[in-house]
Amino acid sequence: MTRSTVSGAAAASRSRRSRALGRLIFLGPGLTYLIVLLLIPLALVLSYTLFRRGRFGGVVYEATGENFTRLFDPLYLDVILSSLRLATIATVIALLVGYPTAYLIAMLPRKWKTVALVAIVLPFWTNFLVRIYAWIVLLSGPGLVNSTLGELGLGPFEFLYNQGTIVTGLVYSYLPLMVLPLYAAIEKLDPQLREASANLGARPARTFVSVTLPLTLPGVVTGCLFVFVPSFGNFIIPELLGGGRSIMVGNLIRDQFLKARDWPFGSTLALALIAVLIVLLLLQAWSARRA
């Protein structure tokens, strides 16, 4: 009796161990990849924030807090704030453009839905850099837009190399990431809820505000996050369409590493960027749990 209980317990622990092993086999490759190529380099970079810069780049392992004090220098604070502003504007515009688009796609007949969704992700089939260069071709002084406007007797205009162009580029690049989660949320919504709202006397605008929008809010939050996160840290678009002046935190970080050779301060800026994004992600998780 006793022996069978003991061996039962042993069997249970053995099966538990084999299940853990099974999980490890599946998780192992991904986990290894993340640890070696993301976590360790990230920890290394973040550890630099505590040290002094070397004269010709690199790090001198001498503890200091000056990197963090420097973060609050108006010069750099300005860059962070302006990045926040540009990313926010891009996100709002993407939401305003993306919501009607997603709504329309969700209302299409089934076979057209697929066509429309493929069209939305189609730009991703072309290299990101190439698409941004294409904007330069379009908007430059003698570019396609100006030459067309010239035919009509207008311009030429200076489209490129300002904050508006950066926002345009950000919206253009990340709009699909707004549309897809919104589409998923709207598509999931029971159409009878809209009918019930109309039946109870609500005009279409009221139905949207009181029923459709609150029930698709998780999609709105996800979409905004998907646009905001890559916009905030972006450095290619401000570099190419913004004329290469350090106006976004992404450029600043790159310049600290590659031009100023100040790795510790670059790391500190990167830490600040990650911190902002983590706060946003926590907010999103919190709002998702409430809904």
């Binding site: 009878q192 809820l193 009918e195 019930a196 709202s197 006397g201 009221r206 009181s210 029930l215």
Partner: protein, 345 residues
Amino acid sequence: MLQITGVSRRFGDVTALADVSLEIRQGEFFALLGPSGCGKTTLLRILAGFESPDSGAVTLDGEDLLGRPAHRRPVNLMFQSYALFPHMTVAKNVAYGLEREKLPKAEVRSRVAEVLEKVGLTSMAGRRPQQLSGGQRQRVALARAIVKRPRLLLLDEPLSALDKKVRAEMQLELKRLQHEVGITFVVVTHDQEEAMSLADRIAVFSAGQVEQVDAPVALYERPRTPFVAGFVGANNLFSGRACSVGLAADGLGVLPGSSDLPDGTPALLAVRPERLRLDGGQNGEGVLKGEVADVSFYGGVSHVSVTVPGRAEPVLAATQGATPIRAGARVSLSWAAGDGVLVPQ
């Protein structure tokens, strides 16, 4: 009060409604009965304003209804799925329609409280729909629809999502409520028992057409089309030609029935199982003779199915309570001429 004239609607190749005309009276409990896909829900959606007909007219109290958008119709619909707003409490759901009328807050509150009291959900006012049972959700949906005091209340399969016991309770409650509020109810259902027990009058639909409009008893006792005879309640149907004393049935001889059809008209004879008399033994005076194939006991009634030579399907007879008859017994079947209803084919 509600006048539906010549309404037709097609979806591609499918005719959902073909020239449907109905008149529904003030304060009536009216049922649209039919199998799924017969067009009854399409008619309901036309009345609510979610669909428009290809042709035809609908007037409510003499005023054109079709020209008005859904949100301006004095018509409320209780959805089959209830369509309660998941992000609002019970009280908010019920108040939604009143808030759209821009009524003062105090009046909204008192009317919501009144209607929640009426459906027995006062204690649930602060809950979300997900926290309620099926029967409670159904009551919220009903409360939300009647709180606006519509001229017309439409109910789409109102009881189909409930289990049998709750359903019987809600049936009684619906009827009581309809009496209390005095609103005209139009209920769509595929369940003929539900239609019979609830409605003052029933319109039977088949393939987009109205087969018959009648009170439940008349519909049951005097079906006027083969579809109604087969769809409403259990029936034994014999096909043949009308004759002076009933029906000359194919392969079975003359069966008794009452009719005013001219002799020789192709017709169906319909006899209810409970109108059939079963006699044991060979020598009965029966109209038909056969062998018992199966006996099923349902408590209050027993169903006896009898195989009759010359007929493919068994004849169904219902007896009160348990029956001594066993499978394999030879029996004879008979009925009064008045219980055989002739329906032109």
